[in-house]
């Protein structure tokens, strides 16, 4: 049945990033970096993948599988009804190997495994194959809006009544060569760490133990100030503790969030990009961080502008602005009675 209003429970959220993997150690003991290109800290994959399988998989696939299986395990769901994934570049390392061989060595000895992994939906498919899930399966690739698009689709699948659970993730890896390219293209800016991230979030219609609830997702291209105001007013009607922003410290990027001072005066503006770096999946790290804050009822000082922790009992609005034009808004709320 199609529902006008809907609330979906976030049962678990897992990350592999430039912070310690599959844990929330970053909340109190974050890793900090002086380099401007940092690769993810990988967990021991042996608990998730056999050595034989792991040899055939690029980093993105291994991380996607590890975060997915951890999220499913914690959330107590083996076979989600839907698997929806975001990725800006897909498995860029294998793409690069194939492309490099094609350009430098010609068109005779190219490797099918590299080509297969260059296809963006390989992660969604791998998770489907591994969990034997025949349900809804999709992949979004819209730059830094990839996770947000996957989340929006999942939100619609719940509202339309097609699913009762979904594994939503976003995964991007970054090779040394492409880290140079994304700097040239301005996808990662001055002062930002070019990074990698794999995030998986398990959500469901019900469940006793939840981090928080998801109560709305909106995507807008080039909205007017009035449209932004209306969306935010609607989403934050029940009150929020803070807004999770994509501010990174780069002046151009941060100027895109200037409207928050007017629309949500006095609401603390949080930053996750200094902790997790910047890549096409970085909005997923912000969403994950917000869900963890609501689970624990506290926003650690590493996320706040004044380096003071904040109580987190109501909700967090997650705002992502890509290239100053694509806006995504999602609202996470504390579970009642927490």
């Amino acid at each position: 049945m199609i529902m006008e209003k809907k609330s979906v429970k976030i049962l678990s959220a897992k990350q592999i990033s430039i912070q310690n993997p599959l844990t929330e150690e970053w909340m109190d003991n974050p890793l900090s970096y002086s380099e401007d290109y940092v690769r993810a800290v990988d967990p021991d994959f042996k608990q998730f993948i056999s050595a034989g399988d792991a040899r055939r998989m690029g980093k993105l696939l291994k991380r996607a599988l590890a975060t997915s299986l951890s999220a499913l395990q914690e959330g107590g769901i083996e076979n989600p009804d839907a698997i929806i994934t975001g990725t800006g570049f897909g498995s860029i390392e294998n793409t690069e190997l194939f492309l490099d061989a094609l350009v430098r060595e010609g068109e005779q000895l190219l490797k099918p495994t590299q080509f297969m992994q260059s296809t963006h939906n390989t992660a969604s498919s791998l998770i489907g194959i591994h969990t034997k899930c025949h349900g809804y399966n999709s992949t979004y690739s819209q730059k830094g809006l990839s996770f947000d698009s996957a989340l929006y689709d999942a939100w619609m699948q719940f509202r339309i009544g097609r699913i009762k659970s979904a594994l939503v993730g976003s995964h991007d890896e970054m090779s040394p060569v492409f880290s140079g390219f994304v700097r040239k293209a301005g996808h990662v800016k001055e002062g930002e760490i070019c990074s990698e991230a794999a995030v998986s979030v398990l959500m469901a219609d019900g469940g006793d133990k939840a981090y928080c609830t998801l109560d709305g997702v909106r995507l807008l291209d080039s909205p007017s100030g009035m449209e932004i105001k209306d969306v935010i007013a609607d989403m934050t009607a029940g009150g929020v503790d803070a807004v999770m922003t994509g501010m990174s410290g780069n002046a151009e990027n941060d100027s895109w969030y200037g409207f928050l001072d007017d629309v949500l005066p006095g609401i603390p503006q949080l930053r996750y990009k200094p902790l997790f770096g910047v890549n096409f999946s970085s909005s997923a790290t912000g969403f994950y961080a917000a869900a963890c804050c609501l689970r624990d009822g506290r926003i650690p000082s590493v996320l706040t502008a004044d380096a003071k922790p904040i109580e987190c009992r109501k909700g967090i609005l997650v705002v992502n602005v890509v290239e100053g034009r694509h806006y995504s808004f999602s609202i996470l709320k504390a579970v009642c009675g927490r």
């Binding site: 350009v103 297969m116 963006h120 939906n121 690739s141």
Partner: protein
């Protein structure tokens, strides 16, 4: 909210090897003319493979779209612009109208045609940096959309050869949920050396004209193109007095969950996708008058899809054809290209022919070889299956 926000198609646009607009494509389908032939535009060592190229150079497309020479574009984006231009025109949507419309594009190759050309420049100098920004899938969608104005939202689906079908499904969900009254959806993909070589490394390219569902089939021919459909909520279209071309009455997506590049022997994912599409349309298998099969011409796909269709339809198997013998396999765009072909068949009363077929395969379906002009089609099913067992089916119905 109304439970019955039905989804009409009020515009379509297409660019493919068999024509640069709906009229040309219709003419080719009715004349059973293939667009597959020797390579002409792509510069590759693999001249042995026939392909379904769009018969325009990049420069010709730029001129058609009024794009100044030197502006960074990609072939995928250019083809997408031409198809979107036709779709918006047919639906009577102006630049201002787009502010209320969503845009969902399907592509996987994105700007790889430029990246494979300028890769060494990206590494060694700054002469082609503008093309780094056109590499990813999302930028391709932006280039296509921005040519016509600013949509309400843009996103990109990248599920390989089912991308455009999934884009149409997502767009339909947005309309059914009241997220938008109009969403333009489809896909675009040019042939690149990258995926020509990729498919070659997987040994699934036919060295001759492809032969879907034929006993001697030996692989696919790559094609290219773009197509978009304007999906519109029925009452919105009525108020706007927009002419409905067809109705998207059902759709389904399922995962074969079998293998990254091969389909399961019993076609489980395809079976589930078709079954879901019929169920959401509220139709029985016997209600379907024609199936536009995925039918790539690879031994594996056509066998698996045959099994799935026989499971769904049993004794009621309607006429089935793959149009990839004429268009080539247009990969991420194929779901939209074949949706437009289905709409043309519905509106003009004919059954597209399975070009390239001559000998029935063992345990397979026998595809349609008769145009059957003047037939009346009520409901047709359109299949798109991608790598990773990403299977999608659409039900497209005639409007009274």
């Amino acid at each position: 909210m109304s439970q019955d926000r039905s989804v009409l198609i009020t515009g379509c646009g297409i660019v493919s090897a068999i024509g640069l607009d709906c009229g040309q494509v219709l003419d080719s389908l009715l004349s059973v003319r293939t667009g597959v032939g020797p390579l002409r535009y792509l510069k590759t060592e693999h001249t042995e493979f026939p392909v379904g190229e769009v018969k325009l150079s990049d420069e010709e497309m730029e001129r058609m779209m009024g794009i100044a020479p030197g502006t960074p574009t990609t072939r995928t984006a250019l083809m997408g612009m031409i198809a979107l231009h036709e779709a918006l025109g047919q639906a009577g949507l102006s630049r201002d109208d787009l502010r209320e419309c969503g845009f969902v594009n399907g592509t996987t190759v994105g700007g790889m045609d430029r990246s494979e050309q300028y890769y060494l420049d990206f590494i060694e100098n700054d002469s082609r940096n503008a093309y780094i920004s056109t590499h990813d899938c999302g930028s391709c969608s932006e280039m296509i959309a921005d040519r016509f104005g600013r949509f309400r939202m843009i996103t990109t689906i990248s599920t390989a050869c089912s991308s455009a079908a999934n884009a149409i499904e997502m767009a339909a969900d947005m309309i059914r949920l009241g997220e938008a009254d109009i969403v333009v959806a489809g896909g675009s993909e040019c042939i690149t050396k990258f995926h020509l070589n990729g498919f070659n490394s997987l040994m699934i390219l036919d060295h001759s004209q492809c032969r879907p569902f034929d006993a001697e089939r030996a692989g696919l021919n790559l094609g290219e193109g773009a197509a978009f459909v304007v999906l519109e909520e029925a009452s919105h279209a009525a108020v706007r007095k927009a002419k409905a071309l067809a109705r998207l009455s059902g759709y389904g997506n399922a995962c074969d969950a079998f293998h990254q590049t091969a389909s399961s022997p019993d076609g489980e994912g395809a079976y589930l996708a078709m079954s879901k599409a019929l169920k959401t349309a509220g139709l029985k298998p016997a209600d379907i008058d024609y199936v536009n099969a995925h039918g790539t011409g690879t031994p594996n796909n056509d066998e698996s899809e045959s099994q799935a269709m026989m499971r769904v339809f049993g004794k009621d198997l309607p006429p089935v054809s793959s149009t990839k013998g004429m268009t080539g396999h247009t990969t991420s765009a194929s779901g939209a290209i074949e949706t437009v072909i289905c709409i043309l068949a519905l509106r003009n009363g004919f059954l597209p022919v399975n070009y390239g077929f001559s000998n029935p395969m063992e345990n397979g379906i026998i595809p349609n070889m008769d145009l059957n002009r003047g037939c009346r089609l009520r409901h047709v099913l359109c299949n798109s299956f991608g790598f990773g067992g990403n299977d999608s089916s659409l039900v497209i119905s005639a409007v009274e």
